[in-house]
Structure formats: structure tokens, C-alpha cells
Amino acid sequence: MRQDIGEGRGAGMRDRPSGDAALLLLADSRLPAGGHAHSGGAEEAVRLGTITGPEDLARFLRGRLATAGLVTAALAAAACELAAATADHPAEPYGQADGDGNTPDAGTDADPARPWRRLDAEADARTASPAQREASRVQGRLLIRTARRIWPSAVLDTLAKAVPEGAHHPIALGAAAASAGCDPYQAAMAAAYNSVTGPATAAVRLLGLDPVTVHRLLADLAPALNDAAHAACASLIDDVVPDGAPQNGPAHNAATQNGAAAKTRGSGWPALPGHTAPALDLLAEGHLNNPMKLFVS
């Protein structure tokens, strides 16, 4: 069932409104949620001379999409799925395996905040740079603020309460997507799209690049965006296929500890990707030390 999410056009989708229009609103750079002030490392890359023109920028965007873009797409898809699940079955425990091993009073089964904190922790674990964590949480907080007014929902209220300092941006994006009527694939697409459009726009502003040239670069990335969104949804599986591929991070550890329980929905997200981009981490940290910076990140 969950592997079919990527197709998203099954019989089950016909009786509910398509989220396509909502996706356009959500991914639009005009969405008033504070994204315009973030360059995703592009400003620091420009300052260091790593991005000097369209060719450099194309490589930067492709690399960003393959790493941070894919990870945020998967997190957004997971958040969207979680939001839909908890909206449909608000009392059903989610993200908590039988024999989880956690202290019994660390949140009851019925605590709706718990799976959100857990998914947010998955995002934290995949964000090595403190500067990036902060930038992600600020954007997440602003997005939730905006989305709660545009697409009010119990899920967004729950998320805002669960992570009061601001959920990571892809988590907020996934929850907002679900509230807007998008499915996980669309949430993943919005996240992947955001991961390259923000830096591209920043480069246009900072270097005075031809905006049409830069939009052509983005158009060239369209197939890769589709692939990223599909891969993101494919990662929403209940169990890790033991193919010998190394799996790191808390999701994997949780799955291992849970053993047989990993096959249940409560096992968390054992297959979420954890691709890192050390260069992006370094750019984010370096950016903080630039006294003349224009963008927040």
C-alpha cells in the first residue's frame, strides 16, 4: 500500500480533491513563509568563489538536490503521511513500536505530539550543522505560522505544540502539505523544489545572473526533481531490505532495536535517506561568520 504512494493516482485518490493546486500554492516562492531570506548556502558559496556563474550554479543545485533535497523530500513525505494518518485516526498510536523500550510515561500512546517529536528528531539527526538546524527550525516555525492561517488543521496545531521552538522545515512542510490537501508525493515534490529554487534565486540576486538562464537550469532539473520525489516516497516503507547497504542514524537503530516490531507501522521510518553534504554543512557554518551577509542562511 505505502509503496503505491508515489503513483498517487489510484482509485482511492479519485474521491478526494487533488492537491495539485494546493501544491502550486505551497511551492510558490510567493508563499509568505519567510523562505525568501534563505539562500541554502548559496551566498557563502558565492562569497568563497565556489559559485561564479551558471555552470557552477548548475553543479551546486544538482548536488544540493541529490543530498539535502532528497533528505528533505523524504522527511516532508513522511510528515505528510503522518499528518494524514493521524488526521484519519487521531487516537491510533503512531511512530511507537510495541516494546519500544522507552519509559512508559514519556508520552502516552494517545499523545499526538509524540510521533511528531520523533520525526523531528529524525530531521535533527540528519542535519549535522548547528547553523543549518537553526535555519531549518526558523523556516519551519514561520511556515507553520503561515500555514495555520491558510490551511487551519488540528495536525498543524499539534505540531506547533509538539515542537514549540519550531519543527524542522521539511516536517512543517509535510504537515502543511497534508493540511492543504496534498499527498506525500506532492509534499516531497514541494520540498525537493524548494531545495533548489531558493539557492537559484539567491544566486540571481547576488551575482546578477541572467534570470532566464537560471530558470533554464531549474527546468533541466525537472526529471531529477521527479526522481527525488519518487525516491522520497519509496523510502516510506516499514522495513529495511537487508541488502547489505549500510544504514546509519537513529531510524536504523530504532528499527534494529525493535526487531520484529519493525514490520509494524509503529516502527518509525527505518528507510528514510540520510545523505549528507559536508560541503553544505561547512557553507552553513561559514555563512554565520560573514559580517556582510544578506541572507539568513
Binding site: R30, L31, P32, A33, G34, G35, H36, A37, H38, S39, V138, R141, L142, L143, R145, T146, A202, R205, L206, P291, M292, K293, L294, F295, V296
Partner: protein
């Protein structure tokens, strides 16, 4: 609320929050100097918060903190990613977040001032961010600026023309500026200042005080009085 609330500070504020005053205008016109002057004048009698929108990170915020006109913690800086007007008009999320952070930390407040980054004549504050706004020009940009209009000059609740001390040096005719501004502003007020000579911005502070008092006690009238009728 039928009860009378005479105590300014403990009154049940009809809005449940501080008045939000936007201060916008071109680069170098004296926005930060005006914010500093208002903090000097109003700080002793009002609970204030300030949000700055800088071109480069925290330049204005640091200036205000160094000026010692307000508890440094009550000054928050918002970065705007090359687009100061976007942050006050099209996407106000970061500024609203900063305003509400100040109110949560130090509230209740009487007045939160949001200073925009220096921008052009078309930059105005969203009504979702600022309840009232001041647009600051200076005479050294030339006495034709009010005639050129633009939303800042024509629609701001108060137009401040600063650096009047420079008028003779740059050949600016204040009478012309006053007449032209009146012609495009539909009766809304204009004040001339020299913040270098009057570091407490006396006349502007009076105008703001009156706004805040009206906001706290009889908000229905303030709308009729200073909001363009088309806004409703």
C-alpha cells in the same frame, strides 16, 4: 468590555497587543535616527520593543544597542535576503515572528516599532504587520521627492521630512516640499525634523504618543481618523 479602564498599563487592551508602528523610507533618510529618538522620548513612559530590518545583518540593531536608548534585548534584527520590501510587505512572516517574540518575552508592551531596511519610494508596510506607518524622507534627496509621490509618500499615516538643517546647503525649498506633500496626501500629516538638532524628535514623539493612547482606549476612532477610507 463595559468597564472603565483608566490605568494605561493594566487596561484591558481592546487589541490584546501593542500598537505596531512601521517606519520606512529610503536609505540614509534617518529611519534609525528616528527610532533612536523615539526610544529616547517614549522609553521612560512606554513599554517598547524594536524590530530592525537590516541590509547587512544587524547594522541598525547594533547602532541602536550602542546608542543605549533601549534595553538591547528589546531590539531584534530580521535579515531580509536582499529584499527589504519583501520582508515588510509581501512576506511578513519573519517580522511578525520577531514582533510576537518581543511581546512574549517582555509583554505586555505599549508599542513595537518595526524599522524597514532602506528602500525605495514604493516600499510600504503590509497592514498585516504594521497598524500605522511613518515614511521618512530627507531634504537632501531633493525637494521634488514629495511631488513624485509613491505609496510611501502618499499613504503613510505620517510623513516625516528629515534633515531640514541641510535644506539651505542642498537648495531644497521646504515650502515646496510641504505644499507638494499636502497635495498628494489627502490631509494626512507631514512633520519636518532635524534629528541632528532635535535628538528626541519632539513632534513625532507627540504624534506617536497620541496614536498609542488612542489605540489603547478608543480604537474605533483611530481607524476613522487615520486610515484611508479605501482601506476598509
Amino acid at each position: 468590555m463595559g468597564a472603565q479602564h483608566d490605568d494605561l498599563h493594566d487596561a484591558a487592551d481592546p487589541h490584546g497587543r501593542a500598537l505596531r508602528l512601521g517606519i520606512g523610507g529610503p536609505v540614509g533618510s534617518g529611519k534609525t535616527a528616528l527610532v533612536a529618538a523615539l526610544c529616547r522620548s517614549l522609553g521612560p513612559s512606554m513599554r517598547l520593543g524594536v524590530v530592525t530590518n537590516d541590509i547587512y545583518t544587524t547594522e541598525d540593531a547594533e547602532f541602536l544597542r550602542r546608542a543605549g536608548v533601549l534595553d538591547p534585548e528589546r531590539i531584534l534584527a530580521v535579515q531580509t535576503g536582499c529584499c527589504p520590501h519583501t520582508a515588510i510587505r509581501d512576506d511578513i512572516a519573519a517580522n511578525l515572528d520577531a514582533v510576537e517574540t518581543l511581546e512574549e518575552r517582555f509583554g505586555p508592551l505599549d508599542l513595537v516599532i518595526v524599522e524597514s531596511g532602506g528602500d525605495n519610494l514604493t516600499a510600504t508596510f503590509s497592514r498585516g504587520l504594521a497598524d500605522r506607518q511613518i515614511f521618512v524622507l530627507d531634504v537632501s534627496g531633493g525637494d521634488k521627492v514629495p511631488r513624485k509621490g509613491g505609496p510611501g509618500v502618499t499613504t503613510a499615516d505620517l510623513l516625516v521630512v528629515n534633515k531640514t538643517d541641510l535644506a539651505p546647503l542642498v537648495g531644497a525649498d521646504l515650502t515646496v516640499m510641504s505644499r507638494d506633500a499636502a497635495a498628494v496626501r489627502d490631509g494626512r500629516p507631514v512633520l519636518f525634523t532635524s534629528l541632528r538638532e532635535d535628538r528626541s524628535a519632539h513632534s513625532v514623539a507627540e504624534w506617536v504618543t497620541s496614536l498609542v493612547n488612542t489605540w489603547k482606549h478608543a480604537n474605533d476612532h483611530v481607524h476613522e481618523h487615520t486610515t484611508p477610507t479605501t482601506a476598509a
